[in-house]
């Protein structure tokens, strides 16, 4: 099974100059944990929920709710994303993509063709696949012998 069969084709994205506040609004309510950051359809990074968590003021901030809102509105996304991008292709084996995600400790990987973003593979989709494969009645999965 390959990445292309399981990826999401039209992921929610944000731009590198968008404020962090916008990213927060996109992530939380949609149950999205990872946001591809795209500059004129070229992938420039991934913003994870962990990046946002790390950027937001601590539990012991002296800022008020309104001030936090104001401050996050002024910080562009590009200041908190990791600059190194781990991406996979449409033809990458799913098992290889999972290995990569575990090694990088990320919950989603962008799928690219060249430098263009064509989709996202998320842990949510993989969990769905796992549940399907291990549920006797709905699965068409047939195991093949190991050796």
């Amino acid at each position: 099974m390959r990445v292309g069969e399981r990826m999401r084709r039209d992921p929610v994205v944000a731009g590198p100059h968008d404020p962090l506040g916008r990213a927060r609004r996109l992530l939380a309510p949609h149950g999205i944990r990872d946001l591809p950051i795209v500059d004129r359809s070229t992938l420039v990074g991934m913003l994870s929920a962990a990046d946002v968590a790390l950027a937001q003021p601590s539990a012991a901030t002296t800022l008020t709710f309104g001030e936090i809102h104001f401050q996050l509105g002024r910080v562009p996304i590009e200041r908190v994303i990791r600059s190194d991008i781990t991406a996979v292709g449409r033809r990458t084996p799913l098992a290889e993509a999972i290995r990569l995600m575990r090694a990088r400790d990320v919950a989603a990987v962008p799928v690219v063709s060249g430098s263009q973003l064509i989709g996202v593979l998320t842990e949510e989709d993989l969990l769905e696949l796992l549940a399907k494969l291990l549920t006797p009645d709905t699965s068409s999965w047939t195991p093949h012998p190991r050796r």
Partner: protein, 302 residues
């Protein structure tokens, strides 16, 4: 159809519990949780109050509560108050707890449905482990790569020649047959009996090794007859500390699973004294499946 069948129809969480859960008290400082996670190499801790499960704290919770990575926001963080945060300030409450019998499929479904990163696994009142998304992803990788959920290429059985211990052998062979895994049956002779035989008896060890191997072969053949043919079965005899030898051999053979019997005492985390399985999970390089005595149903009919 699931590739590996255990007692139930589907693979369950029991097979994923690698080691006892690392837990923390809710009154502990949040910084202690961070330190514990770092030291133990985990990202999720069940939180206890008077030995009762009251929450889960994750690395993500601690990151979110901690100082901002953005300098102009960091400037407003109040360090004294930050140092005073306790685990209960940052944990999530009322965690979804699963049991060792929960199927992996159900766990995957729940993780997705409720966006949960890690489940505490509870047996009776005891927390017996934590199952994370990472564990579930590893199962999926095993299914995709090897055609079976555990990635089971090699099973090491710690055999005992005592009567009534055939359950472990049967269970291990059943697993191996289903997964197409190679099996090594290892019998460890405790060191003290070896020391007793040292004095002037050089031929004796060779003799007992042969004798034990014959007995193991008989048992293995019997079990194979019941459970089906194993692609590759090796019999080995070692001497020394039972736990240490099994762990060492599992390391050398790159075993994916160790199967042992649990004698008369309770299962993996029994309260009454430690079994070999209890000690093995601390040092083993792979999951340990403890087969309780009395589960050798096939034996009864013979």
């Amino acid at each position: 159809m699931p590739a590996v069948r255990l007692e139930k129809d589907t693979m369950n969480l029991k097979t994923l519990l690698k080691r006892p859960a690392v837990t923390i008290e809710e009154a502990a400082p949040a910084t202690a949780a961070r330190e514990l996670m770092r030291r133990q190499g985990v990202q999720h801790l069940p939180v206890l109050r008077d030995n009762e499960l009251v929450g889960m704290v994750t690395e993500h919770d601690l990151l979110a509560a901690g100082p901002s990575s953005v300098p102009e926001l960091r400037a407003y963080d109040w360090d004294e108050a930050l140092a005073g945060l306790s685990v209960s300030d940052v944990m999530s409450r009322r965690p979804v707890a699963l049991t060792p019998d929960t199927s992996v499929a159900d766990a995957a479904h729940l993780a997705r449905q409720h966006r949960i990163d890690a489940f505490p696994v509870v047996d009776g009142g005891d927390i017996v482990g934590v199952v994370t998304r990472g564990d579930l992803m590893a199962v999926l990788r095993g299914v995709l790569e090897h055609g079976h959920p555990t990635g089971l290429g090699h099973v090491l059985i710690g055999t005992s020649l005592r009567a009534g211990q055939a359950g472990a052998l049967d269970a291990a062979l059943r697993l191996a047959v289903a997964a197409g895994a190679a099996v090594t049956a290892l019998h460890v002779r405790p060191l003290r009996s070896w020391l007793a035989g040292v004095e002037g008896a050089t031929a004796e060890p060779v003799e007992w090794v042969e004798r034990i191997k014959r007995q193991m072969a008989d048992k293995a053949l019997g079990a194979q007859g019941r459970e089906g043919h194993v692609p590759e079965l090796t019999l080995e005899v070692a001497e020394g500390s039972i736990v240490r030898e099994i762990a060492r051999r599992a390391m050398e053979l790159d075993s994916d699973l160790i199967v042992v019997g649990t004698a008369h005492r309770r299962g993996l985390i029994g309260r009454v004294g430690k079994t070999i399985a209890d000690e093995l999970v601390q040092v083993a390089p792979c999951p340990v499946l403890a087969v309780p005595r009395g589960s050798e149903g096939a034996d009864a009919g013979r």
